[in-house]
Symmetry: C2
Subunit: 195 residues, 2 copies
DNA sequence: ACTATCGGATAGTGCTACTATCCGATAGTG
DNA sequence: CACTATCGGATAGTAGCACTATCCGATAGT
């Protein structure tokens, strides 16, 4: 906690006396947020710092705040190698066919392309139907994110949800997909008894 | 590379002479797979080792192989705290309402619950519609995974795709969701010029 | 006055994922 | 057949990250 303050993640508490500091409920919430970003979102301290300072910069335009969140997520813990050009083209093709507007340097393209490269390392060249299913799942999730955003009124509340939702949406999906997998395999290997 | 051999991720090459070793194309595929697991999948060396030794254990039952993959993904880089009981209940309710069969200790439940906790740390209590959207996205992805599996014939090929697909499906989705986000925000902030 | 506690600063720790160096032996070359 | 260059293998060292422990001076309470 003193460590987080040092790193600039957590503001100092309110001075009540020269050697006493009081922490409000807001601080507690902030700590929870930091831990969620670090543990659940898998961000590094540096990335989390970028995210929370974007949250606190209430005067920055929303689009900029969003970019910070996108960027924080693509700060990998281990260095990432370049995806193959064919995988990138594959992803771009699927995305274009869905009519999405995107810029060529969107790091999501590379991230998806790297996943495709990994799959082809075991000889699985993802068919269009597979990619389409994932793209459509991603579109549904993104649409849900947007709807959630539109229900908030204040600029700060929108910025917060935008940033945190960007980071925490992935683990939310990942967890649910794992449960869905278990359900699917229950049917596949009917050997184990259900629930 | 020698490091990977030391850690048991990569088998030794074929001896051609007492001090010469030849590497086949299989080795380079294996290296690609390892790097995909580590960099793209975000696994630790230890988790990747579990995964690849599960792949090589061709005689283990498929359900067991699958569990190894599930477990490897839930080996976090930073220690994870317990999710709140209410968030767990929330996830369980959504999952039950979809009629999924799952065991109470499925780590996906906790992962999703932690994400929910993080969201509520900024005052966002995910509405049912939001969770439903993510659950349905997860179901579609899981179904696509299953279909891909069913197109492979040999037991080894199925095990491989099961394990690697479990690990790499998340980053694939994550990348695509980020592109979808950019598309969505393009419409939201019509200030920047498209493409 | 006296001690106990607090905030703040500095230095140290444990872990992970590599990387560099050394060494003895063999492969290729004249 | 000698000589050097290279190779695999083993051991030790490194860099970065996320903390954690210790010290210190000052103030709060008795």
């Amino acid at each position: 906690m003193k460590y987080y303050q040092r790193e600039g993640l957590l503001p100092a508490g309110e001075r009540t006396a020269p050697n006493q500091v009081a922490y409000s409920g807001e601080h507690v919430q902030r700590v929870r947020l930091i831990r969620a970003l670090l543990e659940t979102g898998g961000l590094s301290i540096a990335a989390a710092k970028d995210v929370i300072s974007a949250l606190d910069a209430s005067d920055a335009p929303l689009s900029e705040t969003f970019e910070v969140a996108q960027h924080a997520m693509s700060t990998p813990r281990t260095k990432e190698s370049e995806p193959s050009e064919s995988a990138r083209a594959r992803v771009a093709a699927i995305v274009v066919s869905r009519g999405w507007a995107f810029s060529a340097d969107n790091p999501g393209i590379d991230a998806a392309a790297r996943a495709l490269d990994g799959l082809s390392a075991i000889g699985f060249d993802a068919p269009d139907a597979y990619l389409e299913a994932y793209a459509s799942a991603a579109a549904s999730a993104a649409a849900a994110d947007l709807r959630a955003l539109s229900e908030r009124t204040s600029r700060d509340a929108i910025a917060e949800l935008m940033v945190v939702g960007t980071v925490l949406g992935d683990p939310l999906f990942a967890g649910l997909r794992r449960v869905a997998h278990e359900d699917a395999t229950h049917e596949m290997f009917a050997t184990q008894s259900p629930k």
